[in-house]
Amino acid sequence: MPTSLKTIFRLGVSFGLLFRSLGPLPAQASLNISVSHYQLPNGLQVILSEDFTLPLVSVAVTYKAGSLHDPPGKAGLAYLLENLMFLGSHNVGQMQHIGYVTRTGGTLNAATMQDRTFFYQTVPSNQLALVLWLESDRMNSLQITPTKVESAKKELTAELRRRHTESPFLKAFFHFDQMLFPDEAGNRPIIGFEENIRAITFEDVAAFHRQHYGPQNAVLSITGNFNALYLRELVSRYFETIPRNGDSRPSPVPPVYEKSSGTETVPAAGVPSPAVFLGFRFPSVRQDDEYGLALIDYLLCRGNTSRLVQKAVKRERLANQLSGSLEKRSGLTAYRIFATNNNAALARQCADAVHGELARLRSYFVSEEELNRAKNLWRKDRLDRLSSLAERALYLSEQLLDSGQPRNPSVEMSRVMDVTPLEIAGLMNRYFTRDNCLVLYILK
């Protein structure tokens, strides 16, 4: 029989220990993943994680520079620089970076996020020195010219238009970003706006590069099949003499956020169906809360048996698709739910159904069985991610940037496995309430 929570919260009694003893936890969370970390004199942080399963290595370089660092009116600058990183450095010609990696049979990619930009490649382990040479060359001597900047701007504008065509809800996503993340730095699109991209100058790019793309602002993460001693020699050879960039600036200080509620409706041409967004802000969330929030994401929207998928998609057929995502931008963590519906009435009913399900999770403890299901799905997804060397390298960089130290994935895993129904109920009652819910209807 579900227990009503309201009384317990009013009494302020903690039942954490009680719930820790209920039912068996999923199997042991420890993983056989080694992680070591050191820093070069120029400030470059280096993470190493050996894995001898296959003769492969992944090298990821993450710069602490993302769209948050775009100057006002220049949204898209960080992303533009990501593209310029492939257009040549002193010893590597335009697009040659891709050519070198491709010829080894390796794969590579890059991405710009709100607070970071990363570049990664996975190659046969005998090509490790090549990749370190390539990454160090563009860290040391990226060649930016006005012609390249103009060409990259043109490409970026074309990509922006293409994305709008391919993702009809993109404009609506940007609109909801502005509702959910009130700080302009947090809600600007990573790819930028066309008028902002046009306004970017060569000087802007050069200044951004100088401020953010030095070794003191970067993390080098290497995973896979290598000899650690030899690797340290290589890292030292290629990266130690890269000078610090003089004027690194700290990340902008995020504003203090508050909970907020409100509903907006926008008509949208060109979308395939009506849709609804619901968002919840988590101001001043603690690190430990993030483990519980990760599980709430699974309880609500991940897997076939998650609450909102069951209710809105499977049982009541109010939505064709429903997804959720936990995001952190400019110091604010938030949760976004997105559903597509057949008509406007169903979009509104869908939002009501979401609120109804959230109310149930606020009022009644989630069962151990349901929570363990969410934990197992989360664990499987995390293991899937860690089974890719490139993803593992990026994961370790993220941990370092988020918490200041590279943490073994086992640590996060055991924290998540320890989350109790009481913690879930506490987070639900603290954050998933109507007075902290922003809603956007997209109607055709």
């Binding site: 199997a27 080894t104 382990s125 060359d137 040391n140 060649q143 006005p146 395939p272 197992n376």
Partner: protein, 483 residues
Amino acid sequence: MKPVPIRTLAAAPMAFFLMISGIVAQERFRRTPPPPEPLPSLRLPNIEHATLSNGLRVAVVFREGLPLISLQLVVFSGENASPPDLPGTATAAARMFDRSTLRRSAADIERLIDAMGGTLSATVQQELTIISLTFLEEHLDDALLLVSERLLQPVFSEPDWIEVRRDLSYSLQRQEDDPAYISRRLLLQRLYHGSSVHTPLLGSWDFRAVRARNIADFADRHYRPNNVLVILAGNVSFRTATRKISHYLNTWTPGPLPAAASPLPEPNAALRICFVDMPRATEATICLGNIIPPISGPEYFPLLVFNQVLGGTPHSRLFLNLRESKAYAYYAFSENMFLGSHGVFLVRARVKPEAAAEAVTEILKEIRRATSERILPAEIEQAKSHLIGHFPLSLESLEQLALRVAAVQAYRLGSRHWDRYLENIMLVSAETVHATAKKLSLNTPLVVVAGDRSLLLEHLRRFERIEVYDKRGELQYTLVKEK
């Protein structure tokens, strides 16, 4: 002459500074790429296999590491086995795999899969169906119990099917807005026309005539142990795996083996241009190709290398020509789709509408060049180096490993495609690539262009004859150039 903007002039010294900063501090080792170390040895896990008394083939690949197991259930029947008047029946049967059994409701099965941390997916090709289930290793028994219940005690109820069909139709409707999906589907439809091979790329309308009883009949006929292969990859020994699989599946009864599809598709003999109208598409999507020999043929390895040279990567000829040199394309790649009875060689590109005709011409020119002129040994070696280096990457995740093993086992390819795979690539020479490419019909492909007719048809007028199709693949009319 165009005046140089003042801002650019002001920027020039800084650009020079940025370029020169590296030169000043240039160390000798930075000037040239370091040579590779010796090629690392790749120790492939053994594929251990057994056949149960009911004819079920089992293959196990042991890999230590993360606590996950990947199970692949390969049924040797795909869309080719769907009744001609009921296309999509094979896909429907695969998509019903997480529905009810005599012991559990569909909701119970979904709960069981989520509780295992499981991900279930179904892929239906022309000749095979692959049900893939990856889960946390401590749930091996749960996974096998689920598979056994679904295979031995399935229920194909109309309400379950209606729910599955709704999801399928919704996702297919979304895909039908994608010119890449539509152009690829039309290409396969046209190449397979007149043969017994069916495209697995279905339309949202394809399932309308399919009923739950048709799916039950299909499953009863094709989901039989002597028509199935089970693969387990992960931290599980051969002994444990076979004992458990035998425990859960030994009472599954065999049935008569379905006949292989015939006749097989013939290569397209003359260049054909087809067009599909996709209103509001801002670019032109090109998909062209032709029938090639099957995976087990001697052409397999030379064709891998040929494809690599022509369009396998952003550093191959098509991408460098169409995107980097001519700036026609957003992307341009080629690929081989190898199956047991035949293969399809494909080129796909997304290009500017005004450059659609030039892009098709350039692609045909590149194919002609690669087939008629001998490719330089250096280019061949580069392509081989890519394929050799990429092989371990294609085994990185458990599911990738299991799927590779599935192909080796399903098509009975043996060690030629497993522990002697790299050796076989190394043996490919410029001569074998040339001889192979020359004898195939790569120069007479069927070309499909998908895009908005108001933007595109004008630009395609240079072609003598254009067949215009709707999104379902029905011929609407043919445009013929006036003499």
